[in-house]
Amino acid sequence: MLKISNLQAKIGDKEILKGLNLEVKAGEVHAIMGPNGAGKSTLASVLAGRDTYEVTGGSVDFDGTDLLELAPEERAAEGIFLAFQYPVEIPGVSTTNFLKTAVNEIRKYRGEEPMDAVQFLKMFKEKMKIVNIDQSLLNRALNEGFSGGEKKRNEIFQMAVLAPKLAILDETDSGLDIDALRIVAEGVNKLKSPDNATIVVTHYQRLLDYIVPDFVHVLYKGRIVKSGTKELALELEERGYDWIKEELGETV
């Protein structure tokens, strides 16, 4: 589904991704871990199309499409979804209104008929159950004054509505207590299917207790330096990252 080859990206003069390779197939869950500053959030942003990062080399193939050629909204329409580490507060735009616009613009991109108010109501009701989100929250301005947990739940609700092929969860666990974490993770698990895939970007192992990955990758200095199964995450939790640096021949 996704094939990242030798991806390089910088912000300003600072190179952050330095030849990253990753392949994700439908039905898989990949976790990307790594110390602070390794480039985890950069990878998530570059895949979503944030233009503050400049891609200087490599390629990203998404189901036969050159992802790097597309605008962020086109990537979303092709089926990429980024759950933000810090969802943006947008005063004056309600979550429902925002999502109706998003859904219909994506449908337009795909050459489908727009959904009407009744269809939306029905769909929203179904999806609300998945993340246990309240209607009153959806009527409020998008993320404005939401608690950390509400913001993340809202991200997963949006993911449920947009039903992406590839979801990238950027540090979704940050700022969540254990109950909120569990609700968010359950939501993600319910949305899992053989046809879609998930990339979980996280600093801590604890999210992976709830969203169990098929593969774990260690991102360090802009490259994936080690890959394994979920046991690797446990090992990282226990031993930290120094042993990986040692394996790479660095003095710690």
Partner: protein, 437 residues
């Protein structure tokens, strides 16, 4: 035609009109007109050297010829081309500045509300007009107000007696018909609201046609004790329209006056809003929204004068500037020595949607009392990039995202409109303008 020529033309017009008057030339109102003309003669049209006109250059306006007494064949069919859907209430039409009784509808009972044309009121109720006329709009320093005062005869006189809640709003539509020539109109409105009464008034300005239009409007409000007035000014004129408007308000104690000024379109717009709070426990609200594009220019000058203690003023103006448009906000707050315990808040927020648009803001606070709470803040910036990316990442195109964010920015001012038909009309107008290039 140069500056002096338009001035000369207007002064000559005045003398001609005066020559045709009979007894009216001796009336008190006409005495004021004469004084105003003299003042206009002395002041002349302002240049950018004048502090109050530093960023608003009227050179292009005064270098054009206008017909001040245009009679055009504007009809009910033309009106149907520019509907405000679901418009209900007392609806008055002024075409090229002249009242059109045929198109107008007055539904409120006389006991609640008297609506007369200014000319009619000057004849039938000269004592009322004399009592209030030109007591609030100062023409000493403003050439346009002086000019309007000199020619004051068109416009409307609205009188709400004491203890009346006027159920139906008053909507005054001023339409300049510039299809065949450059037209000018100088409406003069006087609104007197009695003690403990309530009324909603909207002034809506519109132009049609490809020629230039010039509106020089003055509206005066006298708001008695405990009265509550909602005032709306809606401007949707052409790119070739010049609009200079002054609204002057005198508020007595415990009264509430709320002004909502929305400039959806217009080539060159200057709005002066002057409120004097001359009583205790009164409240003045000033809200505004302007969305110039192309080469449009919108200038809002507001002044609130706290003359008595314990009153509040709130001000929020928002600007969305596109293309090569320019905007000006000048907000004055005076707190006199006597006006202790005054609360005065002012805010002006602007979004520049293009690199070529510009905005000049100038808050001016003069505070002579020591126990007051005053604050002011102006911001001018771009749309939030993080918000734009967030919306794009959900599949919303950059243009739609910009429009949604811009509309959201404007929404709180639109929501202040309490006349449903006008609010809907504005919502559509503003949405359309935001989506336009």
């Amino acid at each position: 035609m140069n500056n002096t020529d338009l001035k000369t033309q207007l002064i000559a017009d005045f003398k001609t009109a005066e020559g045709r008057m009979n007894g009216e030339a001796k009336s008190a109102v006409h005495q004021v007109r004469q004084q105003a003309l003299e003042r206009f003669d002395k002041l002349g049209f302002p240049t950018t050297k004048h502090e109050e006109w530093k960023y608003s250059n009227v050179k292009n306006l005064v270098n054009q010829a206008f017909e001040f007494n245009a009679v055009t064949n504007f009809s009910a069919e033309d009106l149907a081309e520019m509907p405000i859907p679901n418009l209900e209430g007392n609806i008055l039409y002024f075409i090229n500045g002249v009242y059109n009784a045929e198109l107008s509808t007055i539904v409120s009972p006389q006991t609640e509300l008297q609506i007369l044309t200014f000319a009619e009121a000057a004849k039938t109720q000269p004592q009322l007009i004399e009592q209030y006329f030109n007591k609030y709009s100062d023409y000493q320093d403003n050439a346009f107000t002086a000019l309007n005062t000199a020619f004051a005869q068109n416009g409307v006189f609205v009188h709400v007696p004491e203890n009346k809640v006027v159920e139906q709003p008053i909507i005054i539509r001023f339409i300049n018909d510039a299809r065949t020539l450059n037209v000018a109109a100088q409406p003069r409105n006087l609104i007197v609201v009695g003690k403990r009464s309530e009324v909603q008034i909207a002034e809506a300005f519109r132009t049609i046609g490809e020629n230039a239009s010039f509106t020089n409007a003055v509206t005066e409000f006298v708001v008695a004790e405990e009265a509550n007035v909602h005032y709306y000014k809606v401007q949707n004129e052409s790119d070739k329209a010049y609009h200079i408007g002054t609204t002057s308000v005198l508020q007595a104690g415990k009264s509430v006056f709320t002004a909502n000024t929305v400039t959806a379109n217009g080539g060159f717009v200057r709005n002066n809003l002057n409120i004097k709070i001359d009583g205790e426990y009164a409240e003045a609200n000033m809200f505004g929204l302007y969305i110039p594009n192309g080469k449009q220019h919108v200038d809002n000058h507001t002044a609130v004068d706290h003359a008595k203690p314990n009153s509040n003023s709130n001000e929020l103006y928002k600007g969305i500037l596109k293309g090569k448009s320019t905007g000006v906000f000048n907000g004055k707050i005076f707190v006199r020595e006597d006006a202790q315990k005054t609360n005065a808040f002012q805010s002006c927020k602007n979004v520049l949607l293009s690199e070529d648009a510009s905005m000049n803001t100038k808050p001016q606070l003069e505070i002579w009392a020591d126990d007051v709470k005053c604050s002011h803040g102006t911001t001018t910036g771009q749309l939030n990039d993080d918000a734009l990316f967030y919306m794009q990442a959900r599949g919303i195109s950059k243009d739609s995202a910009k429009a949604l964010l811009t509309l959201a920015f404007a929404q709180d001012v639109i929501d202040k409109f309490e006349i449903a038909s006008i609010k809907e009309y504005l919502q559509e107008l503003i949405t359309e303008k935001i989506y336009q290039d």
